[in-house]
């Protein structure tokens, strides 16, 4: 399908709606996943809207900032938030068109996520607390292993569909009716592990823990409070939604709307939400059923993803 190069007003509107949906629904997804986790643990759990309340509450709070920190600490939340928002512009979620999609290269997406993580790590080091340092060194270990695995998994997808542009890949996947390629199955497996790692899910990290010594991501954000914390939490939710929507739209693309007709778009949105929630349920279920792995065994899991991505590529050329 040819890509429309000139974006009309309605295109921009659609793109903007997609962007807003991402931002608005991201905390809801986090809330739903928390609720599911609570139910699997036989707890009642907090409302699925609790994440919104938390963010709103944090917005109202004053910040406590250590005297030891430099500008990096103050600016990091904004850099993290804005780089995540830029990614949100590129990634279409239920319509294959995205007016800003032309620049939406998959490598840029990875790069922007890398940028936000880089600043998060800097901020973690900047507070010069022992926990921040621990968190950063662990995050650095994990992310340096994740990135090649992520590239490999996405490389298979890119080669299969002949482009690294998110929109082009998605317009191709929307056409394919069923997943038949073994290479894509392998890279799906690899990508799924990466999504779990990137979003700090249980075999990798336990975001619900109160134990500073075991934290990875949480240890870096320990010193943030108020608005900064709200921004970081929100960006984390958005990042989770974006990664999960990439997984859905690359590997389970059925129901993706390929035209601008209202009915098709509504169906597309509903199917997308359904898929998202199902994926959320799956992840929450895995999180309940698995204990957090020993820190130095986490690379094993990432190597599994790496190997799987490699298998995907091999199968692609066989």
């Amino acid at each position: 399908m040819p890509i429309e190069t000139s974006a009309s007003v309605s295109d921009i509107l659609i793109g903007f709606i997609q962007f807003m949906i991402i931002i608005i629904l991201a905390p809801l997804l986090t809330g739903i996943m928390r609720k599911i986790k609570a139910i699997t643990q036989k707890r009642i759990g907090s409302s699925i809207f609790q994440t919104y309340f938390d963010i709103l509450k944090l917005m109202k709070k004053n910040e406590v900032i250590s005297q030891e920190v430099s500008w990096i600490f103050r600016f990091s939340p904004w850099i993290i938030f804005s780089s995540t928002l830029v990614v949100a512009f590129f990634i279409p979620i239920f319509v294959v068109y995205s007016p800003f999609g032309l620049g939406g290269d998959i490598i840029l997406v990875i790069g922007l996520f890398g940028l936000s993580r880089f600043f998060l790590m800097l901020a973690g080091l900047d507070v010069s607390s022992a926990f921040g340092g621990i968190g950063v060194s662990r995050e650095m270990m994990i992310s340096s292993l994740i990135e090649p695995a992520l590239f490999l998994a996405l490389f298979t997808v890119a080669v299969t569909y002949g482009s690294t542009n998110v929109e082009i890949i998605m317009s191709h996947t929307a056409e394919s009716s069923i997943l038949i390629s073994a290479s894509l199955l392998f890279s799906l497996f690899g990508f799924f592990i990466i999504v779990m790692a990137e979003t700090g899910k249980i075999p990798f990290d336990n975001p619900a823990t109160h134990l500073e010594l075991t934290m990875v991501h949480e240890a870096m954000v320990l010193e943030f409070s108020g608005k900064s914390l709200a921004l970081i939490e929100l960006s984390q939710s958005i990042k989770q939604l974006l990664l999960m929507s990439l997984l859905i739209n690359f590997f389970i693309p059925w129901g993706l709307s390929t035209s601008f007709s209202i009915s098709e778009m509504i169906v597309g949105l509903l199917v997308f939400l359904l898929k998202m929630v199902s994926l959320g349920i799956l992840i929450a279920y895995i999180e309940t059923k698995v204990a957090k792995w020993r820190l130095f065994r986490i690379p094993d899991l990432i190597f599994l993803s790496l190997a799987s991505g490699l298998m995907g590529i091999i199968f692609l050329f066989i």
């Binding site: 986790k37 699997t40 643990q41 036989k42 707890r43 022992a130 926990f131 340092g133 621990i134 060194s137 662990r138 249980i202 075999p203 336990n206 619900a208 823990t209 109160h210 134990l211 500073e212 010594l213 075991t214 999180e287 309940t288 059923k289 698995v290 204990a291 957090k292 792995w293 020993r294 820190l295 130095f296 065994r297």
Partner: protein, 591 residues
């Protein structure tokens, strides 16, 4: 073992020790049926006896008790008053006063305690030779005594403060009798504690605490790490020292009972049982069998709910939500049984001196039987599924290993000792209460099985073996409860409820208690809490209804030092798991 056979054994030991140390022993006698008291003429002589008992009789040091007996000399003048007590009271016949020091050893095979007493008559600069070089587990006791009494162990290389931190004034010793409990203390702010410095390239320090995330008590952990590997850990406790031992000295016997329940909230039955037993042994009053049965049921319920809580905590600490929520459900069920049978979820207010405060009705007993059978089934299934969860097992395996040697050297007890194959259990070694009538051979069999399995898999003393020991103990406790409840019900059926009311002679008892006790008499009381042996020693005052000295040593005090060894060469994120698998009490340590 019956009292007679123990008595025979004790007289054997008595003549053995007396012959060997003829010149240096002033007095040797037994009391409270299994305590052999040896009063030596001077601290140096006492050291020789101590080494003999430790080396040749293979005994464990269970506690060290210091008492300030400087101001009770005038009782000697009024000796005639107490002449009707022909039994030997160690203090009464002493020719001099001062600080007296008691080293208590326990013989694990024969249910005998050796109490080696020496009197330090130099009251201005009381010192005694340290035994640390020979018996390493004495180090913490000696430091504690030096803080609380100013009685110095000469030759103890560790002269740092332990109980009282640097802010406490120098040369002010709270457990001395001339220290007024109401005295206000001015804090010293100019001194600070020197942590052990680990130096080298890439070594970092991580300070954790004393205030922690979550609802736990304070303790400071200073890690020296190389990357993620823990090179050294230094723990600092006693941030919430409550002065329980000093407080007890202002109390009557029945008031101190309430205090003993609050030593550590989750060991309320074990600690109050130990306290009550100390008084009961001292007064040598018989306890109704049903009262001992109720005590046993409650003590085992306490063990079960705490072990379940610990296993749940271990699951939480490795992020295994399924296990922790299911374990917490079982724990809640046990706590509801607690409430139904005693009115208190945490089993407070069970014991009283001479018996129990609550009577468990047959209806409730049947209910306990029913519930506990269901819990047993649920628990078995759950443990099976935990053991099949490879990610959970992998975290436990090989984590926080403690060696057999460390356990013996530092005198650890309870689960911590048993997980490393050291078979100590007060219920078995020194049977008390209804455990005396129960067939505890099961414990023996289980321990053998563990040490066999442990050796087989070369995972001695790791978090996994602690997990398994706890699992086995829960099952075993359920067996004990079932057996005890059935015993009560059988008896009830036969005797037509004659024995059901345990409270009917309450008032009568308290009147007679006073006449049973002799001034300045003392006794040991002990129980096995879920953490291990809790050892109490009570000495009543001149007014026998008041406490002169109440020394408490909980299992946590013995086991805390082990954690520093257990975490070495582990990684930082495994520390919370190791800590939880130890399940130590801050409150039981910061007396």
């Amino acid at each position: 073992m019956t009292h007679d056979t123990i008595g025979k054994k004790i007289s054997d030991y008595k003549s053995l020790i007396f012959e060997k140390f003829n010149g240096s022993i002033e007095k040797i006698y037994n009391k409270n049926y299994n305590e052999l008291c040896i009063l030596t003429s001077n601290p140096e002589a006492s050291t020789k006896v101590i080494y003999f008992i430790y080396d040749n009789l293979k005994c464990r040091l269970v506690t060290m008790i210091c008492t300030d007996e400087r101001y009770i000399e005038n009782r000697l003048d009024r000796k005639g008053e107490y002449n009707n007590f022909k039994n030997e009271i160690d203090l009464m016949d002493k020719s001099h006063n001062g600080f007296s020091l008691r080293h208590v050893f326990s013989n694990e095979v024969e249910d005998i305690f050796f109490i080696v007493t020496s009197v330090l008559s130099n009251v201005d600069k009381p010192t005694y030779p340290s035994i640390v070089s020979h018996i390493p587990s004495a180090v913490y006791y000696e430091r504690e005594i030096s803080d609380m009494f100013g009685v110095i162990a000469q030759g103890n290389p560790d002269t740092r403060k332990l109980v009282l931190h640097e802010q406490w004034p120098v040369n002010l010793f709270p457990l001395r009798k001339d220290f007024d409990i109401k005295r206000r203390i001015k804090r010293r702010l100019n001194d600070h504690y020197e942590y052990l410095k680990v130096e080298g390239e890439g070594i970092c320090e991580i300070p954790v605490g004393p205030v922690h995330a979550g609802i736990i008590e304070p303790g400071h952990f200073r890690f020296s790490v190389y990357g993620e590997n823990i090179v050294n850990l230094e723990t600092r406790l006693y941030y919430t020292h409550k002065g329980i031992e000093k407080l007890a000295e202002t109390m009557t016997l029945s008031e101190a009972l309430l205090l003993s329940e609050r030593i550590s909230g989750d060991e309320s039955v074990a600690n109050s049982m130990a306290y009550c037993q100390a008084i009961e042994r001292m007064a040598s009053i018989p306890i109704r069998k049903k009262a001992t049965q109720i005590r046993t049921i409650c003590a085992e319920l306490e063990r079960i709910w705490n072990h379940l809580g610990t296993i749940a905590g271990m699951c939480t600490d490795v992020g295994f939500a399924y296990g922790s929520s299911r374990m917490n459900i079982l724990k809640e069920k046990i706590m509801r049984i607690n409430e139904k049978s005693s009115g208190s979820r945490l089993l407070f207010g069970i014991n009283r001196i001479g018996g129990v405060k609550v009577d468990i009705k047959p209806v409730i007993l049947h209910l306990i039987l029913d519930e506990i059978t269901h819990i047993r089934q649920d628990f078995d299934n759950l443990v099976k599924s935990l053991q099949n969860t490879s990610s959970f097992m992998d975290r436990l395996k090989g984590t926080g290993i403690i060696s057999n040697k460390d356990v013996l050297g530092l005198g650890a007890n309870g689960v911590i000792a048993r997980c490393a194959g050291v078979d100590v259990d007060t219920r078995k070694n020194h049977p008390y209460s209804y455990y005396r009538y129960l067939d505890l051979e099961n414990i023996q069999g289980i321990i053998d099985k563990i040490s066999y399995e442990v050796e087989l898999n070369k995972r001695k003393g790791d978090a996994l073996s602690r997990f398994e020991v706890r699992v086995i103990e829960i099952k075993h406790s359920i067996d004990i409860i079932q057996k005890t409840v059935t015993d009560i019900l059988d008896k009830n059926a036969k005797n037509d409820n004659i024995d059901s009311d345990v409270n009917n002679d309450d008032i009568l008892f308290f009147d007679s208690l006073k006449s049973h006790l002799k001034p300045y008499d003392s006794a040991l009381g002990y129980a096995e809490s879920h953490r291990g042996q809790t050892m109490h020693w009570v000495m009543v005052g001149k007014d026998t209804n008041r406490i002169f000295r109440y020394k408490i040593r909980t299992a946590s005090f013995c086991n805390w030092p082990l954690i520093e060894l257990a975490v070495q060469n582990n990684i930082v994120p495994d520390f919370p798991l190791i800590n939880k698998s130890f399940d130590l009490s801050y409150s039981g340590n910061d007396l």
